[in-house]
């Protein structure tokens, strides 16, 4: 098992790349990219966009490993419902893997599309055997492109089962498919806040030997005015500093994740300026300290 260290999420955004340049060049041990942001649609075909070339150049110059974090393979949608789209996605991912030689690839656990309708946001799955089979089939397809793959626990605002039972669902997927897991600790924190579960108990019930990567990030709260009830939810928005509770979760799980390759610090483009870069660098350094444990 090759340990990568602490990575940073790259965004296809020139301003963000420039702002984060010190982290990308000096602090990050590896870089995480969203393959779909390196594609464009032209005349009905999906092809490389200009960021593809730029990211290839970053990889060449930095000599840092790249990992892929997919946005829209929609791993909870049964393959039979969209075979053409699956073929297109896999062909593009193959092309990206040839270029970037991803150390591994992860995807969001959920589904974003069905019948051509695009929710874009990963939506919750029922915690059923049928859903386990659907995800496992997709993970096998991804593994035919990038040998080491994983799924990421999601933050959702409604559920189709008991949220406290989600860890058993994750473990069942890991047993059904040759895959690992990307444990997103802010998402676990958000599930705990939104559904009233204990985040430490939640992560303790996950088979942590299957965790290949951890995400840490910040988030924010929805505005009370958005809902008539004025109820507020914790959002998976990657738009703020990593909360202390997420750091505590990281310290808690890190020693038990025996097959962990790396930790990625996520921060969405457009949500930080030059004045925030020193604090972001500190987050990467703090993650490194914990990664070494």
């Amino acid at each position: 098992m090759k340990r990568l260290g602490v990575g940073f999420a790259l965004h296809a955004d020139l301003d963000c790349l420039e702002l984060a340049r010190p982290i990308i060049e000096n602090d990050a041990d590896y870089l995480e990219v969203n393959p779909e942001t390196l594609w464009r649609q032209r005349d009905g075909r999906i092809e490389r966009n200009d960021f593809h070339r730029l990211f290839r150049e970053i990889r060449r110059r930095s000599r840092k490993p790249f990992v892929a974090h997919g946005l829209a393979f929609s791993i909870g949608t049964p393959v039979a419902a969209e075979r053409a789209r699956v073929r297109t996605w896999l062909a593009r991912l193959r092309d990206d893997h040839r270029t970037f030689r991803f150390a591994y690839m992860t995807e969001h656990l959920g589904w974003t599309t069905v019948d051509g309708l695009q929710a874009v946001l990963p939506l919750p799955l029922p915690l059923t055997r049928e859903a386990v089979r659907a995800v496992a089939a997709r993970m096998r397809l991804l593994a035919s492109v990038v040998p080491l793959v994983g799924f990421e626990n999601n933050a959702t605002y409604f559920a189709l089962g008991e949220v406290a039972r989600e860890p058993e669902f994750f473990n069942a997927i890991c047993r059904a498919a040759p895959c690992g897991m990307l444990l997103d600790l802010h998402n676990a924190h958000a599930q705990a806040v939104n559904f009233g579960v204990d985040p430490f108990e939640y992560v303790d019930r996950i088979d942590l030997d299957r965790v290949i990567q951890i995400h840490v990030s910040g988030g924010s709260e929805s505005e009370a005015a958005w809902l008539k009830s004025r109820r507020v939810y914790r959002l998976d928005s990657h738009d703020g500093p990593v909360p202390e509770r997420v750091w505590r979760l990281l310290e808690h799980v890190r020693p038990r994740c025996r097959n962990l390759r790396g930790i990625v610090v996520e921060r969405l483009n457009g949500t930080f300026g030059a004045q925030d870069v020193p604090a972001l660098r500190d987050e990467v350094r703090r993650a490194k300290e914990i990664m070494r444990c």
Binding site: Q41, L117, A119, A159, L160, R231, Y233
Partner: protein
């Protein structure tokens, strides 16, 4: 079946009233039982976020859409609300969504930047 539940959910979450759409959906008893876990506020919030992501795809997909929004946010939002209600979201890529929005605006009398539409 999973696919039936997903079809009902995606149609509901991309509609103006997700809760009403879910109530109308024809689903098996087993799927209805799964939906009973879904809290109405959470479903509504998810629908709002799905809309917000579409709005952002349009603004990100074409600088002129963003400029229109900054110049005259009220008319842009008005156009978006009608577009979102009338056109199901089928585009994943921001540029394609922005192009579809612009074509719809031209066909429906919401011209943000007259004379430059053909460049989209």
């Amino acid at each position: 079946m999973l696919i039936d539940l997903q079809r009902a959910l995606v149609r509901a979450l991309t509609s103006a009233d997700p809760i009403a759409a879910l109530r109308r959906a024809r689903l098996s008893q087993a799927d209805r039982a799964l939906l009973r876990h879904a809290d109405d506020d959470g479903v509504r919030l998810t629908g709002l976020i799905v809309q917000k992501l579409r709005f952002e795809r349009i603004c990100r997909g074409d600088d002129r859409m963003e400029a229109w929004f900054e110049r005259d946010g009220k008319s842009f939002v008005q156009a978006f609300k009608r577009y979102n209600k009338e056109v199901p979201p089928r585009e994943f890529f921001p540029r394609a969504e922005a192009g579809a929005f612009w074509q719809w605006c031209r066909a429906n009398g919401f011209a943000g930047e007259p004379g430059r539409a053909d460049d989209v």
